[in-house]
C-alpha cells in the first residue's frame, strides 16, 4: 500500500497539503475525503482499512494543517470552487466524495453544484443546513459552548476517545501529553474554521433548497450516539437528497470513522461496491 503523508496538490490559488493512500487494487475507486474540524490524521486506523477498497486523497482545507492560509478566499463559496478544482485535478475519471462533519457540509455543497467526475457522495454527520425553528438550534454553537460539553456530546464514550486524532471538544486533551506542534496546528485549524463558519454558524441557509439537485447515489452515515449533530437531523438531511440512504453506526458519536473504524469502512465499502451502505 503506497502512502504519502506529505503530498501536495496544486489547485490555484492554493497548494494544499494532502494525505494520499494508494488502494490495494489498481482499478479500485478513488475517494476524495473532506475533513471535519481538523485534518485527517495519516495514522488514523480507518485509512488503512479503507485503502483495502479504494485509493484515498485527503487534502487539508486552506488554513488547516499545513495548507496555506486562505487569504481572501475565506467563505464556503470559495471552498466549493476549490474542491471542484480538486476534482478536476485528480487523475481518476470518477471520484466518490466523502465529507466528514464540517467537510460534509462542503461535500453537500459541491454535490449540489454538481461535477462531471462525481460518482457517489458519502456524508458522515455533516453540518450545513438549518432545519429547526428560529429559536431552536440544530446543533450546539461550537465556539460558544464549553469544550468539555462538546467533548461529552461528540463521542459515544468520551472516556475512550481514540488517541492521535482530535475531534470536536479536542480542547480537553490539552495537557502534558500534547505536543506544542499539535497545539499550534489545532489553534490554526480552530481559527480557520471560525473564519468560514462563525455566522451563520455551520450552515448555509440556502443549501437545503438545492440538495434536490444532487444527482449521484448518496449515503448519509451517522453515529447513533452523536449529540453534536443528532441522527434525527441526519434523517431529515438525507430525506432532502433524492434517493439517499441513511445509515446509523452503533456505539459511535460524531466521529464514527474514529470510534468505530471497522463498521464505518464496512458501510462505505458496501456502498462504493454497489450496495446501499446499510449493514
Amino acid at each position: 500500500m503506497q502512502r504519502s503523508a506529505a503530498a501536495r496538490l496544486r489547485v490555484r490559488p492554493f497548494d494544499l497539503e494532502m494525505v494520499r493512500v494508494g488502494g490495494k487494487r489498481r482499478d479500485a475507486p478513488t475517494l476524495l475525503l473532506l475533513h471535519g474540524i481538523n485534518p485527517i490524521s495519516p495514522t488514523a486506523p480507518f485509512l488503512d482499512l479503507l485503502a483495502e477498497h479504494a485509493h484515498l486523497a485527503a487534502p487539508s482545507h486552506p488554513g488547516f494543517g499545513n495548507s496555506p492560509d486562505m487569504g481572501d478566499c475565506d467563505t464556503i463559496y470559495d471552498l466549493v470552487h476549490l474542491y471542484r478544482g480538486v476534482l478536476d485535478a485528480l487523475p481518476a475519471e470518477k471520484v466518490t466524495l466523502v465529507g466528514f462533519s464540517f467537510g460534509g457540509w462542503i461535500a453537500a455543497e459541491v454535490a449540489a453544484a454538481g461535477h462531471p467526475k462525481l460518482d457517489k457522495l458519502i456524508l458522515v454527520a455533516p453540518f450545513g443546513i438549518k432545519l429547526a425553528g428560529r429559536e431552536e438550534r440544530d446543533f450546539p454553537h461550537l465556539f460558544n459552548t464549553n469544550p468539555a460539553e462538546l467533548n461529552r456530546r461528540a463521542w459515544h464514550d468520551p472516556t475512550r476517545c481514540p488517541t492521535g486524532s482530535y475531534g470536536i471538544g479536542w480542547h480537553v486533551a490539552i495537557g502534558d501529553a500534547m505536543s506544542d506542534e499539535d497545539m499550534v496546528t489545532l489553534a490554526r485549524n480552530w481559527d480557520s474554521l471560525c473564519l468560514y463558519a462563525w455566522r451563520p454558524h455551520m450552515y448555509n441557509p440556502q443549501l437545503k433548497h438545492w440538495l434536490h439537485r444532487i444527482a449521484v447515489p448518496a449515503l448519509a452515515l451517522w453515529g447513533a450516539s452523536d449529540r453534536i449533530v443528532t441522527p434525527e437531523y441526519g434523517r431529515a438531511y438525507a430525506a432532502l437528497i433524492p434517493g439517499a440512504t441513511f445509515s446509523v453506526i452503533e456505539a459511535a458519536g460524531h466521529h464514527p470513522e474514529l470510534e468505530q473504524p471497522r463498521a464505518f469502512v464496512e458501510r462505505v465499502s458496501r456502498f462504493i461496491g454497489g450496495g446501499d451502505g446499510r449493514p
Partner: protein, 401 residues
C-alpha cells in the same frame, strides 16, 4: 495635563454564590440578575457624577461593554448623547463603540456626528477593537478583527469628512453604496480620534495616523514600549514628533484625604479584576483569534489569556506597578508626574474611580479632590528631558521600576 473620569457603570450586586457558580459573569449570565430599578439608580448616580465633573473641570470618558456585570453602558453613543446634553463645558470621549461588533460603521459615524453637534464640538471619538465575550454577545466573527477595525475607522473617517457626497464604499468587510450623513460634525474637519491598544504594530499605525494612543492599565514598561512604537513609526515615516497630547493612560485612581484613605478605597476597585472578568474558556483563551497559533501552547498550558492580568491585586502593588494612582492629593500628583516622566511624556490621565465596590459618595469625594488639589499641580509642567522622550529608550533606564 488633563484629567478624565471614566466609569464603566459596573453592577456589583449579583450575589456571590451566583457569581461563583456561573461559568462566566459576562456574555452568559442571565439578565434576571440585573434589577432594572437598581440599574436606574446607578444611571442617576453616575450622570450626577458627570454633572459634577462638568462643574469642576474633569473631562468624561464613556465606553460600552455588553451582557455582563462589569458594565451597564450597553451603547456608547446613547450614553455619550446623554452626557452631551447634561454637560456644557468639558470634553467627552467615547472610548468607544465596539466597531468590530457593529455591522455598519456609517451608522456609528452618523451617531457621533450627531453627538458632536449636540455637544457643540466637545466630542472625541475613540476606537476599541474589543474581543472575547463581546464577540459572543454581538455575534461578531472574532477572526480578522484588526483588519475589520481599520476598515471601519477608514469608513468612519471618510463618512465624517465627506461634505460633497454621497460616496460609495465597497470594502472587504463593509459595503455602503450611498453614504451621506446629516448632520455633519460640528468640529471641522472632524472630532479627534483616539484608540485604546498596547499592540505595538497597532500603536505604530496610530502614530502614522496621529491618533491619540491610550493604554489601559499597562504599567510603566508596557506603556513606554507602546508610546515608543508610536514615536518610532512617526520618525520612520518622516512625520513630526508627536506632542504629549497624543498619549493617554487609563489607571485605577482614588484621591483620598490621606494616603491611607486613598489606598483603602482604591482597594475596592480591585473587584474589577478579581470578579468582573471571570470568563468561560470558550469566551477567552479558546476563542478563535484570542492568541496567535504560535502562542497557543504558552497560553493554553498556563491558562493565560491574550492580555496578562496583574497577579498581585494589593492596592500598593498596583500603585508600584503604575496601574493605580492612589493616596492623598499630593501623593497622587506625584505619582502621575512620575508616570509622565517614566513613559516619556503624556497629556491625558483617565481615572477609573467609580469601579468595583466604590460608592457614589466616595467617587464624588475623589473627583472633588482631584479637580481642586491634583489637577493644578499638573499644569504648566516643564518639558521632560529630551532623553526621556526619545523613542530609543536607553537600556537600563526605562525599565527601572
Amino acid at each position: 495635563m488633563e484629567l478624565w473620569n471614566h466609569c464603566e457603570n459596573p453592577y456589583p450586586f449579583v450575589p456571590n454564590e451566583v457569581l461563583e457558580q456561573a461559568e462566566s459573569v459576562r456574555a452568559s449570565l442571565p439578565n434576571k440578575y440585573c434589577d432594572p430599578k437598581i440599574a436606574a439608580q446607578l444611571y442617576d448616580e453616575i450622570f450626577d457624577e458627570y454633572r459634577l465633573c462638568d462643574d469642576i473641570g474633569l473631562h468624561i470618558v464613556t465606553n460600552e461593554h455588553h451582557s455582563g456585570i462589569n458594565n451597564l453602558w450597553a451603547a456608547s453613543p446613547v450614553i455619550t448623547g446623554v452626557v452631551a446634553n447634561i454637560t456644557r463645558k468639558v470634553r467627552i470621549l467615547s472610548l468607544g463603540t465596539l466597531i468590530t461588533v457593529r455591522p455598519d460603521p456609517v451608522r456609528i459615524a452618523e451617531e457621533y456626528a450627531t453627538i458632536d453637534v449636540i455637544s457643540k464640538g466637545r466630542l472625541e471619538i475613540g476606537f476599541v477593537k474589543s474581543g472575547a465575550t463581546e464577540m459572543v454577545s454581538g455575534d461578531a466573527n472574532p477572526m480578522r478583527i484588526r483588519d475589520r477595525e481599520w476598515e471601519a475607522i477608514d469608513l468612519i473617517e471618510k463618512t465624517l469628512t465627506t461634505q460633497d457626497g454621497p460616496f460609495s464604499w465597497e470594502g472587504k468587510f463593509f459595503t455602503h453604496p450611498h453614504v451621506n450623513i446629516w448632520p455633519r460634525p460640528y468640529q471641522q474637519p472632524r472630532p479627534d480620534f483616539w484608540a485604546a491598544t498596547s499592540d505595538l504594530p497597532t500603536c505604530a499605525e496610530l502614530g502614522r495616523r496621529g491618533i491619540v494612543n491610550t493604554l489601559l492599565f499597562g504599567g510603566y514598561d508596557r506603556t513606554r514600549q507602546a508610546f515608543d512604537a508610536y514615536k518610532k513609526a512617526r520618525h520612520e515615516a518622516g512625520l513630526p514628533a508627536p506632542g504629549e497630547d497624543r498619549f493617554s493612560y487609563m489607571a485605577f485612581a482614588y484621591v483620598g484625604d490621606t494616603d491611607e484613605e486613598g489606598l483603602r478605597i482604591g482597594q475596592k476597585i480591585a473587584w474589577f479584576l478579581t470578579v468582573s472578568i471571570k470568563s468561560a474558556p470558550q469566551f477567552s483563551k479558546f476563542q478563535p483569534g484570542a492568541v496567535a497559533p504560535q502562542m497557543a501552547p504558552a497560553a493554553w498550558r498556563t491558562g493565560a489569556s491574550r492580555r496578562p492580568r496583574p497577579t498581585n491585586l494589593d492596592a500598593e502593588v498596583l500603585v508600584g506597578q503604575g496601574q493605580m494612582f492612589a493616596g492623598n492629593p499630593d501623593t497622587v500628583a506625584k505619582q502621575i508626574k512620575e508616570f509622565r516622566k517614566r513613559v516619556g511624556g503624556i497629556c491625558h490621565i483617565i481615572m477609573m474611580t467609580r469601579q468595583g465596590l466604590v460608592t457614589h459618595a466616595e467617587a464624588e469625594a475623589s473627583f472633588k479632590r482631584a479637580a481642586k488639589y491634583v489637577l493644578p499641580q499638573l499644569q504648566d509642567l516643564p518639558p521632560i528631558d529630551a532623553d526621556e522622550t526619545a523613542w530609543e529608550a536607553r537600556p537600563g533606564k526605562a525599565a527601572v521600576q
